[in-house]
Amino acid sequence: MSTEIADKNRDEFDIEILNTVGKPFIDKPEDIKMATRDCDVFYGDKQAIFGVDLDIGKNEIIAMIGPSGCGKSTYLRALNRMNDTIEICRVSGSLTLDGQDIYSKKQDPVLLRARVGMVFQKPNPFPKSIYDNVAYGARLHGLVSNKADLDDLVEASLTKAGLFKEVKDNLQKPGTGLSGGQQQRLCIARTIAVDPEVILMDEPTSALDPIATAIIEELMDELRHNYTIAIVTHSMQQAARISQRTAYFHLGKLVEVNATNDVFTNPEHQLTENYITGRFG
C-alpha cells in the first residue's frame, strides 16, 4: 500500500467517516449465523461502538483483534446481551441470530445466553465439584430428566472439551483445584453442556501458559465443526493461528474484516497493518 493510500485512509478515519474495508459480509444468507448492522453501543453518554456491520458465519472462528479499549469485548458482549447487566449500557442497531433480532422484546435474554454461550478471560469455574460445574447449566435449564442422562451429558461435554481423561476419577473434586488450563477447559465444557449454537470467547487464553493455550486452541479447532466461535484476543498470533476471518477494531469502529490469511500477510487498511506489525498507530 503506498503512502498516499494510507494517508487517505487515515484522513477518512479522522473525519469519522469510516467504512469497514474488506469483507464484513457473507454472500450466502444460509451461511450467516449472526449478523449485526449499524450496531452502536453506549455506556451512558459515551459511545463505545460505532456502527458495526458484520456477519458471523456458521462453523467459522472469527477473531476480533485490536488495541485495548477498542470495543472488541464490548461488541462481543453485545452478541449475547451480557451488557444487559450494566445498567448504563445501551445497544442500538440490528443484531440478529439466525435472522431473529436478539434485542427485540420477544427475545428472552436467558434463552439467548443458552444459545450463545460465553467463555471468559479468567477461568471462572464455580466453587463446586467438576461434575456440578458441568451439570450446572443443564440443571438450570432442565435439559435432562434423570441422573443417568446427566452423567452422560457431563461425560460427553468433558470429552468434547478434552478434559474427561484427566478428571474422570476426580469428578467430585472441586473445579477450582484444577490447573489454569484445565479450569478453562472445564469452563468450555460447562458452556458446551448447554449445547449452544455460538460460543463467544473473551480472551480465553490470556491467563494461560503456551502449552495450555495450544491445547485450548486445538480444542477450538475441533469445536468449530459443531459451533460458531467468535473470539476476542490480544494475541495476534493466536488470531492468526486459529481463525478463518479476522476483524480489526479501532476506537470502537470496525476497521477491517478479511480472511485471516489476508489480514496477516496483506492487510488492506493502514491501521490494521500498523497494529499487527507493532507500529505506532
Binding site: 449475547n80 451480557m82 447487566t85 445498567e87 448504563i88 436467558v110 434463552l111 445466553r113 443458552a114 454461550g117 460465553m118 467463555v119 471468559f120 479468567k122 471462572n124 469455574p125 464455580f126 466453587p127 463446586k128 450446572y136 447449566g137 438450570l140 435449564h141 472441586p174 477450582t176 469452563c187 460447562r190 458452556t191 448447554v194
Partner: protein
C-alpha cells in the same frame, strides 16, 4: 561499586534498625493489650469464681403440724399458705437454745436464707406425709454467712466494723464444727431469676431474656439485612439519587448512639404499636434496628467482594439474575456476611442503653417463658447487680460477666463453624 550503591549501603543499617524498632513497637503494643486482657480476665474470674459456690446449712427440722396448722390431709392451698418460716426459726432456736435477745433472735433466723421456708413448703406440698416427721435438711445459708465462709469477712477486725457480730461468729463456728456448713456448687445461679436476696439471685432470667432477644434480633436482622444488602448491591439502580440517599443513611445509622434506638423503640414499638414493654420481643425489635446497619454494611462489602467473573459465568450459562445471586453470589459472600452478623450480634448482646429505654431494666424475678414475658438481659442484669449494696452481689456481678462472655464465645464459635462450612465450598 557505583555511587548510588554506596549511598544505599550507608543507609542500610539505619533502615534495618528502623524496621526492627517498628516490629518491636508492634510487639510491645500487642503485649500491652494482652496484659490488659489478662488482668481484666483474672480480675473478673478471680472475683466471679467464688460465686459458683454457695454455702448451705444443715438443719434438723421438725415439721410440726401444730406449728403449721396442717395435717397430711390438708388441701393444697392450705399447704401453700402455711408459715413454714416458723418451723425453720424453731429449728434454729432448738439448735442454739441460749439466744434470748430480740436482736440476736433475728440474727439467728438470718443464718438461713428466706428461701429455706419455700424449699420446705415445696417439699411438704409434694409429700404431705412429711408433716409430723423430723429430719435433717440442707438449706441455703444467708448471704452474710456465705460471704464469711468464702473468707471475705476478716474475723480479726473490731466487732463494730464487721457485718458479722461475735455471737454470729460463734454460731457459725459451732455449725462448722458439726459439719453443718458446707460449700456446694451454686445451682441457684443458673436456675433462678433475679432476687433481692443475693443468695437466691440467679441469672437464668437474664440469660433466657438475652437468648430470646438475640433470637428475635437474629431472625429479623439477618434476613432483612442480607436482603437489603443484596438488593442494594445487585438489583438497585446505579447512580440513582434515592439509592444513594438510602446508602448514606444506612452508613449514618451505624454511627447513631444506641440510646437513640431505644428512644425510637419506645416511641414507635411501645407507644405506637403497643408492643408490651420490658419484653424480649420489643428488645429484639430495638436491637434489630441497631444491628441492621452493621449487617447491611458488612454484607454489602462481602457481596461486592465476590468476583464479578462468578456472576458472568452464571449469567453466561443462562442463569437469571436472581438465580445468579442466590446460587452463586450469596453462598460465596456468606462467610463475610456471617462475620458481619457475628459482629452485629455481639454488639447487640452487650448492649444496655437502648434496653433501658424500653423498660428491660425492671426487676424481674420470674424466668421468662416466652418472648412476651417481661424479662431483662445479661448486661442489664450485670448493671443491676453491680449497683446493689449487698456484698454478695459483687461476686455475682463478676460471675454474670463470666457467663455473658461464655455466651458470647459460644455464639461466635457457632458462627465461626458455620463460616468454615461455607468457606469449604469455595
Amino acid at each position: 561499586m557505583n555511587k548510588s550503591t554506596q549511598i544505599v549501603e550507608a543507609g542500610l543499617q539505619k533502615r534495618y534498625a528502623k524496621e526492627k524498632r517498628f516490629r518491636l513497637y508492634g510487639l510491645i503494643s500487642i503485649l500491652i493489650s494482652l496484659a490488659f486482657l489478662v488482668i481484666l480476665l483474672a480480675d473478673i474470674i478471680g472475683k466471679g469464681y467464688p460465686a459458683f459456690q454457695q454455702t448451705y446449712v444443715k438443719l434438723d427440722v421438725t415439721i410440726d403440724g401444730e406449728v403449721l396448722g396442717l395435717t397430711a390431709e390438708s388441701p393444697e392451698d392450705k399447704l401453700y399458705s402455711a408459715s413454714y418460716s416458723k418451723v425453720i426459726r424453731n429449728a434454729l432456736r432448738e439448735k442454739f437454745p441460749g439466744v434470748t435477745d430480740r436482736k440476736q433472735k433475728r440474727a439467728l433466723s438470718n443464718l438461713v436464707s428466706k428461701s429455706a421456708a419455700y424449699e420446705l413448703r415445696d417439699m411438704v406440698v409434694e409429700n404431705p406425709n412429711l408433716i409430723g416427721t423430723s429430719g435433717s435438711y440442707w438449706f441455703l445459708a444467708k448471704d452474710d454467712v456465705d460471704v464469711f465462709m468464702k473468707g471475705n469477712i476478716d474475723r480479726n477486725l473490731p466487732e463494730s466494723d464487721r457485718r458479722i457480730k461475735d455471737y454470729q461468729l460463734e454460731w457459725i463456728d459451732t455449725l462448722v464444727a458439726e459439719n453443718r456448713l458446707e460449700k456446694r456448687f451454686n445451682t441457684v445461679l443458673f436456675t433462678e431469676a433475679d432476687s433481692r436476696e443475693p443468695e437466691q439471685a440467679g441469672i437464668r432470667g437474664a440469660l433466657m431474656g438475652s437468648l430470646y432477644t438475640m433470637l428475635i434480633t437474629m431472625c429479623l436482622a439477618f434476613p432483612i439485612g442480607v436482603a437489603a444488602a443484596t438488593y442494594l448491591e445487585e438489583f438497585a439502580p446505579q447512580n440513582n439519587k434515592w439509592v444513594d440517599l438510602i446508602e448514606i443513611n444506612i452508613n449514618n445509622l451505624a454511627a447513631v448512639p444506641s440510646i437513640v434506638f431505644g428512644l425510637l423503640g419506645l416511641a414507635v414499638y411501645i407507644n405506637f404499636f403497643g408492643v408490651p414493654r420490658s419484653t424480649p420481643l420489643v428488645g429484639g425489635l430495638v436491637l434489630t434496628l441497631m444491628t441492621l446497619p452493621t449487617i447491611i454494611i458488612a454484607s454489602r462489602a462481602a457481596i461486592k467482594a465476590v468476583p464479578p467473573s462468578m456472576r458472568e459465568a452464571a449469567l453466561g450459562l443462562g442463569a437469571s439474575k436472581v438465580q445468579t445471586v442466590f446460587q452463586h453470589v450469596l453462598p460465596m459472600a456468606m462467610p463475610g456476611i456471617l462475620t458481619g452478623t457475628i459482629i452485629g450480634m455481639a454488639q447487640a448482646l452487650g448492649e444496655t442503653a437502648p434496653l433501658l429505654m424500653i423498660g428491660m431494666i425492671a426487676f424481674v424475678s420470674d424466668i421468662p417463658q416466652s418472648i412476651i414475658d417481661p424479662s431483662t438481659v445479661m448486661p442489664v442484669q450485670i448493671y443491676l447487680w453491680s449497683d446493689s449494696p449487698e456484698r454478695a452481689f459483687t461476686e455475682r456481678t463478676s460471675a454474670a460477666i463470666i457467663v455473658l462472655l461464655a455466651f458470647l464465645i459460644t455464639m461466635n464459635l457457632v458462627a465461626i463453624m458455620l463460616r468454615k462450612r461455607f468457606e469449604k465450598r469455595w
